[in-house]
Assembly symmetry: D2
Homo-oligomer: 325 residues x 4
């Protein structure tokens, strides 16, 4: 199929490449034209404006928007809605908030357009491994786009089949699902990222405890000096906690056993927060996912005002003066 890829950052460019390798024609557009030139050199049809993108597609046009969530995505979707004709299809493949999708979907419907939200996991490894996709929108459009999703997905690969699985729809086993109506794709992807935060924090705390076992806080005869790089490696083999994130821990620790290149200030994107929002709307307890998010917040400040207030209270009742330790 021919489709446009709008946004040629790390994710967008690689998605375009995987599509081209799969025999699709990609009209490539990016705000910075250097990325367009690059991708045109690899076989894409370069475009120099959204209008040009529109001109280089035929109805029903397919636009895959792969931009940062929020204003960049919203502004582009809005512009595409103006330039499109009834029957055209806008795919938001980024990390948009699912409630924004629902609004965009309604706006698109009003203009006779189709709007599809695709939550895409796979990171910089997706070009080779394929992308895991969670798709929201109308069934007939999701079906129409199937050749695209089929190309992007990992496929069966060498992954062992789930025991007991006996579902007529093979898409999940090939790496993509039609999660539900507009917004459902990004909703599932949002929870995916919420879980990701929790998993990452579980490993982080575990390795912290392993490392702490050599700390001077303990008596010398209570200490173990554990090789964390080897621990990460061995857990990849036959253990209950093997995972792709653990593979990444092993890579990171093999490269830099003390992780000295990192400051320890950890960013968060919207999904972790939105996942907690969803938990609160549903009255679902989310102790671990929220704690994982807060750990990132905490990592970005030296000391909280609250910490100082604790000291003020301790000074108040016990005359304790907190000293740097």
């Amino acid at each position: 199929m021919r489709l446009a890829m709008i946004g040629l950052g790390r994710m967008g460019a690689n998605i375009a490449r995987r599509l081209m390798r799969g025999g699709h024609e990609v009209v490539a557009f990016n705000r910075d034209p250097a990325a367009v030139t690059q991708l045109a050199g690899e076989g894409a049809i370069g475009a120099n404006s959204l209008e040009d993108v529109v001109a280089k597609l035929t109805a029903p046009r397919i636009f895959w928007v792969m931009l940062p969530a929020g204003a960049p995505t919203q502004d582009t979707v809005d512009k595409l809605m103006e330039l499109s004709e009834p029957g055209d299809i806008i795919i938001d493949g980024g990390n948009s908030f699912y409630k924004d999708d629902i609004k965009c979907g309604a706006a698109a419907r009003d203009k006779g357009l189709h709007y599809i939200d695709v939550g895409t996991s796979g990171g910089i490894w997706g070009l080779e491994r394929g992308y895991c996709m969670m798709i929201g929108g109308d069934k007939e459009i999701v079906d129409l786009l199937d050749p695209i999703f089929d190309t992007l997905a990992p496929g069966y690969g060498s992954i062992v089949r789930t025991i007991g699985r006996d579902a007529p729809d093979s898409r999940a086993e090939r790496g993509y699902i039609h999660a539900g109506p507009t917004g459902a794709g990004h909703f599932v992807k949002m929870v995916h990222n919420g879980i990701e935060y929790g998993l990452m924090q579980a490993y982080a705390e575990g390795f912290d405890i392993l490392k702490g076992k050599s700390s001077e806080r303990l008596e010398p005869d209570e200490r173990f000096d554990i090789n964390l790089t080897d621990v990460a490696e061995v857990w990849r083999r036959g253990s209950v906690i093997s995972s792709w994130l653990l593979d990444l821990c092993a890579i990171g620790l093999a490269r830099d056993p003390m992780l000295e290149q990192f400051t320890g200030q950890v960013s968060d994107s919207g999904e972790g927060r939105w996942t907690i929002d969803a938990a609160m709307e549903e009255a679902v307890p989310a102790y671990v996912l929220s704690a994982a998010l807060f750990a990132r917040y905490r990592s970005r400040v030296d000391h909280t005002f609250g910490d100082k207030l604790l000291s003020a209270m301790r000074f108040g009742f016990g005359g304790h003066v907190e000293m740097p330790q």
Copy 2:
């Protein structure tokens, strides 16, 4: 009554003073003799060794040990057990681990001695306000010591009587209880301190959120610039969250609204940790109390190794490079 006060730190000296004000005779001992001299000047009988303490008491001797938990208390109790005669009474008024009390109590019993554990709350305010005491040990000895506890406790004071309370034992209303057998006093005090951590952290987080409302992370029109000193003050008046700890927040904020004198590194003593230990032994979920303890741990390091591991994973899957913010 005549009793010995062993350990004349902030707590021990004030307890001795309150006892003397109440008409008791105090034999005062401290490793550093300056404190003995000071207290002797206020009416106490100074002693220059534990042997001297023993000599200045008459059977049954009453020793109140008011020393830091762990080795200082344990060593003194051990020595007193050697110097004592059957029928003598050792009171541990510090913050000992209740399981250590149980061991000490058994050892004392083997020697015909009595061992009483007293959890004491009140801090530097206790001299004036009186001390809240949670007492463990044999009933007859607790009863024998009643004049001491009665003097130290706050008494009815001006505190409004609890609606519906109709208990024959008035001691709780006067500020002390016989909590149970040896160890029960410090167990209740331990949980008291565990709760204290949780309460303090709840205020800390709340004030952090009030303060964060003025942060540059928010858009200018989303910010409020709230006077935290006034908020602490007003909540003391008729609100659901008024408390003595809030009074201390109000004092601390009145003195230093930005709390600039504090680094934000917060110490913890053993009780918070032991409370979580107890919760785990009992299989009781203690989300809040553990989180309050961990907040203190976290306050004492710049960045955890775990935080860096999060960054290493993020770099691994997304090529994200975490930047100082």
Copy 3:
């Protein structure tokens, strides 16, 4: 002053009573006229419709709306905006979401009206103790309404003055503050309630640990059988964790030591959730306040689907079959 009280539930009726006791004239309105009749019998001017309320006030009219947050408050405020004349003042004294206040305030301004948000703490005790109030809105209107706030607030009472406090504005010490522009009152009240959740959960966990010490999970010689009613009482006296909420624990336990009248399913209103929302917007870690909220969510379900998924995983890797315990 003359003002209208709209909404004569537990809070509204008592606020009206305290105002009348203070010499103010109250026009009382409620959807269910029985409450109007009741309050008219106590000296209020009854009204049988919002139109009637308007007619019984003189410009500038003062409307105090005391209704459940959300639709009940919003609908009434909307209606009052239609019926009012420029210069009239609408006070929302309920537990509205502060972002809704900001919208209402802007709408009021467009019509030449004044909108004031008052977060009110004190519960059913406020009639006697007075109400702690956190007020948002324009300074001149807050000043104009001062006689009302002054009457409702607890006043200095017998509360000890905060050491070191030296602020020109005495309102905080009398129990109310002008927290900032529209929305700031309810924002501060929201955080107040978030803290309240955290404080309550800290006590809840602590008493759970005390109670768990008698559980059959422990060996008989590890158990203590602690009198929780007495513990709550004694902590009211000179301890670091004395508070008004603890007073309520003491009352509850004195009345029903096993708390058998309660199922253990705990409701939450919006403030706890909004506080976490605010923390997430500000990137403030709120471990304790969120855990306190989640404990309530968890209390309302028998078992989570997530719990079952844990069992499914355990069965998957270890063949464990989870049995009722």
Copy 4:
């Protein structure tokens, strides 16, 4: 090599089988002789008492103890120490507390014996996949036993090599490590299980949020009805959160999409608790791992006393009567 397998439960029997497949001779013993008969039928040398086990081995004897942690393991190790001769080797392959290992190791050393602790992960899948092993003890003994560990471990298999790994010791890549001195093996395994709890809870909360999106708590137009079985499946393919535990979720959900066979009461073994103990000794914040443990505690009670105390406080300040919902 010839060695004894003591304890032929699910784990012990399969470890024995994998050893025999690898050419080792196994003397098999179990309290219940049926398991011995079964394994003898598969080629093992049956033994009918620990004395018989000793008789059927030659010096230096190798005993692999594979029993539940605590008394069963301890009693057997104690007995073996009596029956052994200097130079014999006792391996504890179960889930013992690492501090118990340290005591056992010292006792063994006093008798001229060797004690090795092996943390073993792999569950009922280990027979086919191999076991991930974390080993503590003296280097020369660990080296001596290498043929055994080599057979039990998964080996390189088809797992992709860690990018950047360049370590001389290939054991980690083949699935086992010498973690350090006595106790270090079980310490690393303990943290492994602590992480396992955290990972499991992260998935549990995520799926709870997905499921909650269809709850009646939400307005009909806010709901999504998401196929959880398909979500688990698709996340196995190219997503950031793919893992072996997720594979197990997929299996469990494929078999029983509503997980109706499970009550939702989740057991915990010692390791989760000990991991938190270790975190507390090291002053490492472990928010997520502790919350994961507490979720299991909470799953095993209908309502906590603490929940009821929350209701009692709410009744106290607001007159709220909590109703079943």
